[in-house]
């Protein structure tokens, strides 16, 4: 099915000088948007749409691809430096990335995350090319029951990642799910729990909530504490050698990188749940197979590599539904398809039949831009890491300004800014009282998908629950869910069984 003519046409487009110019511009814009909390690929593409209007079709696509490929790379940078994921899938990177930054190892963490991102992105695209002939079959395998189970798997894997604070992780998760139920329910069309406030019809949105939970909460903490992010500035060593060591880490832990990329592409292919579940699943699996699970959450570099490789690999994966049916695999892809429509290309399944050259241009541009983004990030890592040394009295107002601009600009809604403030205070309280915050945004992402697909499944299956166990993908998912719940216990059992005879010997 690889149409060589289309591929050649795409290559021709990409090597022209103007194309490379737009690729570079797109990558840089993407990096900037990724670094600003709240602003991500979706906002960037939406804001740039009017500009692309006047551009050549291919130039516009290349510009957009640059943005899409680079935001997840730099989204990890803020997760590491200020504990604020640039996009929801970067949330898992906070778990070990931020502790590393606090220990003065920000350069190492950024090096590892950028390299893992780059490799993940490449592997994801390689996988995509490999599955092009069977994309339709893959997408058709996943019906509402499978989506429901996938959402459950995502939640479970996040809960497991909270390790010894499981109870409170679950409480925050339950709270997050309840929050996600506020507003319009799309299966029954009912508007729920709106407390008579029109703003709540659409529910509390993820991005403003995330900006609050992470950026604002962290800034409240930093302002109250004073000083800089690095706890002991004398420990901070910002040199390029550290960044290089970080670069080498994904190769040293090649198993983690490969596993993360595989999980990323597979799960990324499923619209809606994709990136976030993939990143957390990769993280949980990394803990699961680790010999030293206690070290996670305290600055283990593997905890940075796993989610970041998965997160970028999903870009390739998210093209699968687009290729097969014109269904956007991610929010970015949805806006991107809109841009294509503006350029007179009809959305929907025919895009692959009639415009394979465009798809190839996109794939190639994503590949080059992904690599470019990693290189730029690595090059500036040393400089970026200095953020952790800036005094709170300077850093806090700047971060808050950018974060709240991000919160506002997603929907041009000033009330979103207040939501960010509210969640910021809540996030700070959670942080202080030992309630893991991470389960909240994930619950917000997955709550709706879980509920909608459950209600749809019941309709499809005439109200019986049997529908959740009839297909083999759903059986595999159920197995994975059970495995993630019992994995810690199984490992504990295995370890104690193994250590018993040794003790007896000793």
């Amino acid at each position: 099915m690889i149409d060589q003519q289309a591929l050649a046409a795409a290559l021709g487009q990409l090597v022209s000088l103007s194309a490379l110019k737009f690729l570079l511009i797109g990558t840089i814009i993407g990096l900037v948007f990724g670094v600003i909390p709240g602003l991500g690929g979706t906002t960037a593409i939406a804001l740039l749409t009017p500009i692309t209007f006047a551009m050549e079709k291919y130039d516009a696509i290349i510009l957009m691809a640059g943005i899409m490929a680079s935001t997840p790379t730099s989204g990890a940078v803020t997760a590491i430096l200020i504990n604020t994921p640039g996009t929801a899938p970067n949330a898992a990177t906070c778990l070990d990335g931020y502790p590393m930054a606090k220990q003065g190892k920000a350069g190492l963490a950024i090096g590892a995350s950028s390299m893992a991102s780059g490799i993940g992105g490449l592997l994801g695209i390689a996988f995509l090319i490999a599955v092009i002939p069977v994309t339709r079959e893959i997408v058709l395998l996943f019906k509402p029951p499978e989506f429901f189970l996938l959402a459950v798997l995502g939640l479970v894997s996040v809960a497991v990642s909270t390790q010894d604070r499981l109870l409170r992780g679950l409480i925050v998760g339950g709270f997050g799910l309840l929050v996600s139920f506020i507003g319009y329910e799309s299966v029954t069309g009912e508007v729920r729990y709106d407390f008579g406030i029109e703003y709540l019809w659409d529910g509390l949105k993820l991005v403003p909530a995330m900006i609050g939970l992470f950026a604002i909460a962290e800034m409240i903490n930093l302002w109250a504490k004073g000083g800089s992010i690095v706890e002991d500035p004398s420990k901070q060593r910002i040199d390029f050698r550290q960044v290089l060591a970080g670069c080498w880490a994904p190769f040293k832990h090649w198993g983690t990188t490969l596993r993360g990329s595989a999980i990323g592409t597979l799960i990324g292919a499923l619209p809606g749940v994709g990136g976030t579940v993939a990143a957390f699943l990769a993280y949980t699996v990394a803990i699961g197979v680790s010999k030293d699970p206690q070290s996670f959450g305290k600055g283990n570099i593997v905890g940075v590599i796993a989610p970041e490789s998965a997160n970028n690999a999903k870009e390739g994966g998210s093209l699968v539904p687009t290729l097969a049916f014109g269904i956007p695999g991610s929010a970015e892809m949805a806006v991107f398809l809109g841009v294509l429509v503006l350029h007179g290309l009809a959305p929907g399944p025919t895009i692959v039949i009639e415009h394979m050259d465009i798809i190839w241009t996109l794939i190639l541009a994503l590949t080059v831009a992904g690599a470019l983004a990693s290189i730029i990030t690595l090059g500036s890592a040393r400089w970026l890491a200095k953020l952790t040394l800036i005094d709170s009295r300077t850093l806090v107002p700047v971060v808050i300004a950018f974060a709240l601009i991000g919160s506002y600009s997603l929907n041009n809604e000033i009330l979103d800014v207040f939501v960010s403030l509210g969640f910021g205070i809540l996030g700070f309280v959670f942080m202080r009282l030992g309630f893991p915050r991470l389960t909240l945004p994930i619950a917000l992402v997955l709550g709706q998908i879980m509920e909608t697909s459950y209600l749809q499944s019941l309709r499809i299956g005439d109200g019986t629950l049997k529908i959740f166990v009839t297909s083999w993908p759903s059986r595999i998912l159920i197995f994975c869910i059970l495995l993630s719940i019992f994995l810690p216990a199984l490992k504990y059992l295995y370890n104690s069984l193994r250590s018993c005879p040794q003790q007896a010997k000793g």
Partner: protein, 168 residues
Amino acid sequence: MENLFPRRHRASLVLDLLLLAFCVTIIALSAGLDSRAKLFPVLVGWFTVALIVIDIVAQSDTGFGRAVFTFFSGSAEAEDREVEARKEARSIVHAIVWISIFVVAVWLFGFLPVIPVYMFISMRVFGNNSTLRSLITTAVIMLIIWAFFEYALDYTLYRGLVAELIAD
């Protein structure tokens, strides 16, 4: 009460009760809804209520409470992070108020005028930066924000309630 819940757990207890109140509100509001529209919220609501009750029990200074705590956290050590000195409470309140002031000011006057004022005060009044340094940093950041959003992207940042009222 005084003896049942040790002082270091008070704050967590209050948070648990607030979350509990939220769950109960959602469950109560579900009463009038379509059976399918309330299925998940009620299910998750009760589940969360149960978890919160367990968490409350886990914090009580009773043998049972300590046992529950150990079971869920895998260690017998109590979380000590909430035992923080009272003087810290003042700096926390200060941080929350100062950030809230920013949000309200943006709501009233918009991003462009508020950001530089806020930055300057933060750096000069609350920090130990010189007037010149504060001014230059503020100006550079404002230039970046303006050039990126308003100029390059042709995007209108929120102008504030006051500007809207005047325009009317």
